[in-house]
Symmetry: C3
Subunit: 204 residues, 3 copies
């Protein structure tokens, strides 16, 4: 069962994948491939690492939503690109939601709290990594310009802590998602960066 | 059980991987790695997404055929490269066969028709994507020059429709494979292309 | 259960991943991602191909060791880089250990000897391939400068042969690991290379 929120997150991530396809001047097939993997790639990796069949290959919603996002970008990409600032906010919302949901699912299947946090982050950022690999770029995540993985990690950690305290319900998911979402917005607003190793300077 | 046809498809795809290794001036180990992943990569991904152990790691044929293809290319690659037009025809045959067989297997394991079509396409094109990623190129599939994924998608769709109609046997596989094969040949002959998003022009 | 030797191998591989992160001027998050995938990537792929849940997502040691390696490289990378010749020896030790252990695990789960050898090699070299893909380089393994995969293949083959002969214990693992380790050191010392296809010359 995919909730409306989950599908909304998938739509936002799929849009970012399809837009990358337009930037790379791919045709509609390439756009759809990028949209699909950006949207569900993180969850697919999480499920493989948990050792279960990826949900994206059982639930038709995971398939139709990226197709719909591709169609929207195909016909109206100039308008969608103009909405980019709004999309970054939605992307932050997707990041928050996916890290919370991913952590919860990993805990549900009996993984340790540290592994659940790792898989929460994987759910949130894995799709973007696949998108970048497939379109021939070094994954943006690795540079973590303006903290991206770190907010997801802190949201996932909150989720794991709340679960340990017995708070397993919707409130926990919401709190974790909100934490990651807020930190991500603050990181973008104030250009927060993760530290480089001692003596290493930022590439130009 | 791998049929003779399946192994023939694997041989063709492995040859294309090994040739890419020669073009990239890789040594024999690199050639073998590319041959193996090009040939079985799509099926391995399909099986992981279905949630079963990849057949390529159970059946020794999947291992020996890429090794044989590597040996052939290692000693006779100028002759093999000269056969390239013929190889493109064989590749189209492999594409047709793999999309039909992949869809059938996904349906057999109870996936929905749209997912089965997706996995049929994945079987047909996944190996080529891995080959390109491993050898440091943007996946050719993403550009879909002269329709490659689309014929596979239509062949897979025919397979899924025939299965729904109760036609599960060899005739269905053959019809689906032939459809994809023919469409692919026509796409090469007439340079059919998938459309780009509105206002986007082909890269030079 | 992860043995001390296994964790030592993971530490060495994680160090090589974190150092690549420094070379690429990634921040600490990127370093940790590379450290983790370099160290456990080969084993994760092996387990997925065997069809079981990857051990790296069950055992907390697989998570903490890469984090520790990242911290060491983060603070002391000039000193670690100066140890590079020593690290290449440790890397060869990791290569030997991982190919032996990987082959053993695959045999234990009932895979055929050729597949077990393949998965032994995959365990030994898969992490390095992922490290290179994620950091935007063509996998060094594909070029196999100074034999890297071949020693692992021979070590894995010895392991498979000894297992067939009924020698399943620690001595077999040690012998296989030592063979791969020694061959790798000799390959570095005498610049052994795998052959290129007939008529192909080394790039530049």
């Amino acid at each position: 069962m995919t909730s409306v929120l989950d599908l909304a997150g998938i739509f936002v991530f799929a849009t970012s994948g399809a837009l990358q396809g337009v930037r790379k001047r791919l045709d509609v097939v390439g756009m759809a491939v990028l949209a699909f993997f950006t949207a569900v790639g993180g969850g697919v990796l999480r499920d493989l690492f948990i050792g279960i069949q990826p949900a994206a290959f059982r639930d038709v919603g995971y398939l139709l939503v990226p197709v719909a996002a591709t169609a929207v970008v195909f016909f109206w990409h100039p308008q969608v690109a103009r909405l980019m600032p709004a999309i970054l906010v939605f992307d932050a919302a997707g990041l928050g939601l996916f890290c919370a949901v991913g952590t919860e699912k990993a805990l549900l299947f009996g993984l340790s709290a540290p592994h659940a946090v790792l898989l929460g982050v994987c759910t949130a950022v894995g799709g973007g990594i696949l998108r970048d690999l497939l379109s021939g770029e070094t994954p943006a995540l690795l540079y973590d310009r303006q903290l991206y993985a770190v907010p997801a990690m802190l949201g996932a950690t909150l989720m794991a802590v709340l679960s340990r305290l017995g708070v397993y319900d919707f409130a926990a998911t919401l709190a974790a998602a909100l934490l990651a979402f807020t930190l991500r917005l603050l990181a973008m607003r104030y250009s927060w960066r993760a530290p480089l190793a001692r003596g290493v300077t930022t590439p130009e």
